[in-house]
Structures are given as C-alpha cells and as structure tokens.
C-alpha cells in the first residue's frame, strides 16, 4: 500500500475490475474480501478524490463501481455523477446506511449491511461478463 492510501492491483484484462469507494476501513476490507472471493480485481479507495486519481492516472478500465455516499471531501452523490461522465459504461452501485430513497439515481443499490449473496447478485445483474468462480 502506498503512502497516499491508493491501492493498485496488477492489471489483468480478463478479470472483472471493481472500484470500491468507502471511507470506513472495516467496510472497505469486507467489500474487498467478498469481491475477491468472487474472482474480481479490486481497486479500493477511501475517498472520492483518491478514487478518481486512481482510475484516471492509471487509465483503468472499470467493470463495476461500488460507491458509499458519506465520504470525506466530495460526497457519493457527486462522485456517482462524475463516474457516469468519466466511465459511462461502468454501472455505479450505491452502498450506504442511508435510506434508499435518498440514493442518487444510478439504478443500482446495495444497501448496508451487505452480505455475500448481495455481492454475487450485483455481479450477475450488472456485469454480464462475470463468471462465478
């Protein structure tokens, strides 16, 4: 892990890449674990700014983004809008403790607390090229 808190995985084009933006370390690691168990490459960031930096600077292709709403700095609402502009082909899944009624309209929601089943459901629904390991 680098000092700026951005985590890079080695790029392997055939694996599904998931961007996780979550400021709570516990939740971030939980999500990483679930997605890795499902066979995905995980890019995890603890803030919107570091997430943008990560995918922009590495010109990363993203298959899925999981975004928390309450973030330091730029919030999840703004980030999801930005992602829809920067990576229009990447589905944005909102995962938050807030009520679903307050979620931005990205069309995909995975409210907390999340379970393994939720993660697998999201992958099969929004990432057609994902194959369960």
């Amino acid at each position: 892990m680098s000092r700026t808190g951005i985590i890079h995985d080695r790029v392997r084009v055939d694996r599904v890449r998931v961007l996780i933006v979550e400021d709570s370390q516990d939740q971030r690691e939980l999500l990483r674990r679930h997605f890795e168990m499902a066979g995905c490459d995980v890019v995890a960031a603890e803030s919107a700014e570091s997430a943008i930096y990560a995918y922009e600077s590495g010109n990363l292709h993203l298959d899925l983004a999981v975004v928390d709403l309450l973030l330091p700095g730029m919030d999840g609402w703004e980030l999801s809008g930005r992602l829809q502009l920067d990576r229009p082909d990447c589905p944005v899944v909102i995962s938050s403790v807030l009520d679903q009624a307050d979620y931005p309209p990205t069309g995909a929601a995975m409210p907390k607390p999340i379970s393994r089943a939720n993660v697998l459901a999201v992958l099969s629904a929004y990432v057609p090229r994902w194959i369960a390991p």
Binding site: D26, Q27, V97
Partner: protein
C-alpha cells in the same frame, strides 16, 4: 324681588287668621275713636257699642290663638262670625239705619266668601243679613216696603252678589294656585327623574369605560401572537402589538391602508385557490383572499400553515387560524387572523429529525460491520467451524439483525413523527403481498406450534408500496403469532372491494384489555397482557403499521377479548375491484 320676599314673609301667601282679622280690628279701633271724638256720631245704644268693642277684642285674641297652630285653623271661621255680630252690634248702637258702620260687614263677608265652597256665600250673605236686619231681628216692627226695609234688602242683595263674586274670584285664584302647585310638583319630579337618569348614565358610562379598558388591556397584552382583523374585503381594521412585532409595522401604517392578503406569499394563495377549485375566470374578484378565508366564510374555523411575507422580504412560517366575525344578526362583517410564529417550532422539529436520522445512521454503520464479519466467519471455507461455534455465531447474527431492525423501526417512527417518509407506490394486486407475508411467517408459526391460514375472498388492485405494506402485514402477523399460545390459530383475510379493501389478521391469543385498545397505537405502549406474559417487543410495531396504513390512504382498527383472541383490520382504498 324684595316685595315678593316681604309678601311671603308676612304670610300673605297663606294668611293666618290673625292677619285676616287685622284689618277688621284696625278699622274697629278707628271706628271706636270716631264714635268717641266725632261730634256728629250718635250713640244710640252704649251697651251695644261697648259689647261690639269687646267682641272684636275677643275675636282678635281668638284669631291670635288660632294662628299659633295649623291644626286649629278649621275653627278660624268663629272669628268672622264674632266679627259679624260685633259689626251688627256696632251698627245697632250707632243709629242703626243712619249708622256709618254698616259697610264694615264687608270685611267678615270677604273672609267667609273667600273660603273654598259655595256654601260660604250663604254664610257671608247671612252675616250681611244679620247686620242689616239687626233691629228687625231684635223686635222692631217691620214696615215692609218701607225705606229702611228696602234699603236693608237691597244692601243684602248687593252684599250677596259681592259674596258670589268674591267666592268665584277666590275659587279661580285657588285653582290657579293649584295649577301652579301641580306644575311645580311635576317640574320637581321631572328634575328628580333627570337627575336619576344622569346618574345612571354616568354609572353606565363608567361601566363601559371599565370594560373598554379591560379589553384594551387584554388586546395590548397579546404581544407574541399576531392578531389581525379585517373587513369582508380583507382591508385591515385591527392590528395588535403582536402583529406590529412580527412585521415591524405600526398600526397607523396598516389600519385602513393595507390588505391582509398583501402579507401572504402569492404562490401559496394561488395553490390554495387551485385546491378549492375555483373555476377559471369565475367572478372571484380576489381569488387569493377568497382562498384564504373560504373555510371561515362557510362558518368553520380554519387552522393551517401559511408563510407571512415581511416588507423586507423575510418569510415567517406561521400557524394561522382564520375565523369569521359576525354582527348581532349573524352576518359576516369581517375576518380575524391569529398567527403563531412557527419558526422556532420548525427549527426544533428539524433539529430533532436531523438528530434521530444521524443517530440511526450512526448505529447502522457498526452493525453493518458486525453482520458482515460474522458472515465471513461463518462462511470461511479455509477454517470450518464446529457445530457449537456455528450455533454461537447464529445467536450473534440473529441479535445483530434484531438490533438492525430496531434501529430501522426507530428511524421510521421519527420519520412518521415529522411526516416525512417515502412511499414507492405502484399499482398492483394486493393478494400477492399478503401471500408473501404469510409465507415468510410460516417458519415462525411452525416453530411456535400455531396454524397459519390465508383466506383471500377476492383479490383487488391497489396503489401501494409493496415493501412497506409487506412490512405492515409482517408486523401484524408476527404480533399475532407472538401473542397466541401454542395450538392456536392465526388467520389472514382479505375482503372487499366495497367500499375499501379490508385486511384482517385474527388470532386466538391472549387478547388485549378493553380500556387499552385506544392506547394501542401509541409509541412505546405495551399492553398489560404483553408484559404479563413477557412477550418481547418495544412497542413500536403498531405505530409503524398504522403510519403505513394511513400513508396509503387507509386506517387501522382493532377488536379484542381477553383470553379469546384479537382481530386487527386494515382498510385500504382500492384502484380496481377484483381481478378474476
């Protein structure tokens, strides 16, 4: 003036007998003196003259005595009687027919004739007769038609007529006096009445002033609510200190100058006008104001929230009650607007909602981590767990879920309180929602040994949020299961569609006491049957269930009998009746 006073002083208004006697007495004195010193006067009978003198003295003395007491005055006619006799004696004793004192009789005659009553004419004339006919009465021979006799008769006739005239004159005089007295009395009475009226007026006036001051004092004391009175067109005619404070405008600037609908947001007035469905272009001169007072105009008090607009552009949220002002005959003559500033209340409510929201979300965050990692622990393929460990994990997970549900309920009730919770309504059949709730409750029912039935008579289409409605049904069913002992039954029924859909959840459980039925839907309320039987729960379920029912345009009801069972019913408006 002085003469009048003298007149009254001397008693001429109501002459005493002495006063009346005085002229006679004085004249007699003069007569006696004349008799004694005048050479041409013959004294034919000394005794007569002397006795007349004595008689006059007696009469005068009597008059003096009688004058002292009003109550003796009825005897006063004795005096002129004596006078008459004295005059008769004097005349007789001073030459009779040639006596110069015959005309004396006029004085007692006047006394008699002036008395009230026609009979006194007779007495007076009788006196004149006595005086004129003394010699004949005393025995002298009568020469009828003789000169003396004729003279006597004629004198009496003259005196008689004089008596009549005097009597009449004095009667007229008395009548006049009576009239004047009556008039004076009337005037006195009227004056007294006027005085009394004036005093009463003064009293009424004081009362009115006191009342006016009381109400003015009350009015001026209302400084925290704005009270505005208007006429039927909305022109302001009353502006209290509270309104002055709220708007920063004085009474002078407002009364008879501005209209009350000026103070409202135009958009709000138009919204209300739309709500009341005024037809476009209708003869409503001022739709804004009419919308504002519509309910009040129809006779009902109207209490709702509005926004006042100050001249400086500031908005003040108020709770406004509008009532019609009626005159003595019940006609509407204006309106009264009492506004209570809600800014603080709104702020407090907003802070409370924010706080509850914050807390609930803060609680959810660690719970998410707890549940997430418990799951990882359970499903870790690398380190399989023993049965015992799995059981412990199960307990931990179950309780974490329970905590999560509780947080959700708490958050939901706070949203219900503030009136803000979202419904994702879709038109859909009701049957499947109920079926889903029943199916998800089957495991719990089976574990508790309770039979669970679904009885749908006819399905119907409603507009509902399936998740929330499902939550409400889950709640009712789980309550029924919780409160029914093993071996009992829970039945979920659906009837309708007219006039509404009715969902019933009936159980054969412990029931609820009759006096607790109306408190059942209040926050944190737990029935005594629940606490007595140690049924778990916090008391939020029914609050949430009812809030959901009401948000869908329906309501809740309950009937129960302790020891027999309970039936909860939820009515919901339908979109379409039964689908086949």
């Amino acid at each position: 003036m002085r003469l009048a006073r003298l007149y009254t002083r001397l008693g001429f208004g109501n002459p005493s007998p002495l006063l009346k006697q005085l002229p006679t007495a004085i004249l007699f004195v003069i007569a006696i003196v004349v008799v004694m010193i005048a050479p041409g006067v013959q004294v034919s009978n000394q005794l007569a003259v002397s006795s007349s003198a004595i008689a006059i003295v007696v009469a005068t003395a009597l008059a003096a005595v009688l004058s002292r007491k009003e109550s003796w005055r009825y005897l006063s006619l004795i005096v002129p009687t004596i006078d008459v006799l004295a005059v008769a004696a004097l005349r007789y004793g001073s030459g009779e027919a040639i006596s110069m004192f015959g005309s004396f009789v006029i004085l007692p005659l006047i006394w008699f004739a002036a008395e009230a009553g026609r009979r006194f004419i007779v007495f007076g004339t009788l006196g004149a007769v006595v005086v004129s006919f003394t010699q004949f009465l005393l025995g002298k021979s009568v020469v009828v038609y003789g000169p003396e006799f004729m003279r006597a008769i004629f004198s009496c006739i003259v005196f008689g007529i004089a008596a009549v005239v005097i009597n009449e004159l004095s009667r007229q005089g008395r009548l006049q006096v009576e009239k004047v007295k009556r008039f004076a009395e009337q005037s006195r009475l009227m004056l007294a009445e006027s005085r009394e009226h004036a005093a009463e007026l003064a009293r009424s006036d004081a009362k009115v002033r006191a009342t006016e001051q009381l109400f003015r004092g009350l009015w001026e004391a209302i400084t925290e609510q704005s009270v505005i009175g208007t006429d039927v067109t909305g022109l302001i005619d009353a502006w209290n200190p509270g309104a002055a404070k709220m708007f920063g405008l004085t009474r002078k600037a407002m009364v008879s100058k501005r209209h009350v609908d000026d103070l409202h947001l135009k958009t709000e007035l138009m919204d209300r006008a739309r709500e009341l469905e005024y037809p476009a272009g209708a003869t409503v001169l001022n739709p804004g104001f009419s919308a504002l007072v519509e309910t009040a105009r129809l006779g009902a008090a109207d209490v709702r929230e509005w926004t006042y607009l100050r001249d400086d552009g500031a908005h003040i949220p108020v709770e406004l009650s509008v009532t019609a002002r009626l005159d003595g005959m019940g006609e509407t003559i204006g309106y009264l607007f009492v506004a209570y500033d809600m800014t603080k209340a709104r702020e407090v409510a907003r802070l409370k909602d924010e706080f509850v929201g914050l807390i609930s979300h803060e609680l959810r965050t660690p719970l998410s981590s707890i549940l997430g990692y418990l799951e990882l622990l359970r499903d870790d393929d690398e380190v399989p767990l023993s049965d015992g460990q799995l059981r412990y994990l199960d307990v931990a997970e179950r309780n974490a879920h329970r905590l999560l549900r509780l947080v959700g309920d708490l958050l939901f009730t706070a949203q219900v309180e503030s009136g803000k919770f979202h419904l994702d309504e879709r038109t859909q059949p009701l049957g499947p929602i109920l079926a889903a709730s029943v199916e998800s409750a089957r495991p719990a029912a089976a574990a508790a040994g309770i039979s669970l039935h679904l009885d749908v008579v006819d399905d119907m289409v409603i507009k509902a949020d399936a998740v929330r409605l499902g939550q409400a049904c889950d709640n009712l069913i789980s309550n029924a299961i919780k409160f029914t002992p093993s071996g009992g039954a829970v039945t979920v029924g659906l009837t309708g569609p007219s006039p509404t859909a009715v969902i019933t959840v009936s159980d054969t459980g412990m029931g609820i006491a009759a006096d607790e039925l109306d408190k059942l839907f209040s926050r944190f309320f737990r029935a005594t049957t629940a606490t007595r039987n140690a049924v778990p729960g916090v008391g939020l379920g029914l609050v949430i269930t009812r809030a959901i029912a009401r948000a869908h345009g329906g309501d809740m009801g309950v009937t129960s009998e302790e020891g027999v069972g309970t039936v909860f019913s939820m009515t919901l408006p339908i979109v379409e009746p039964a689908i086949a």
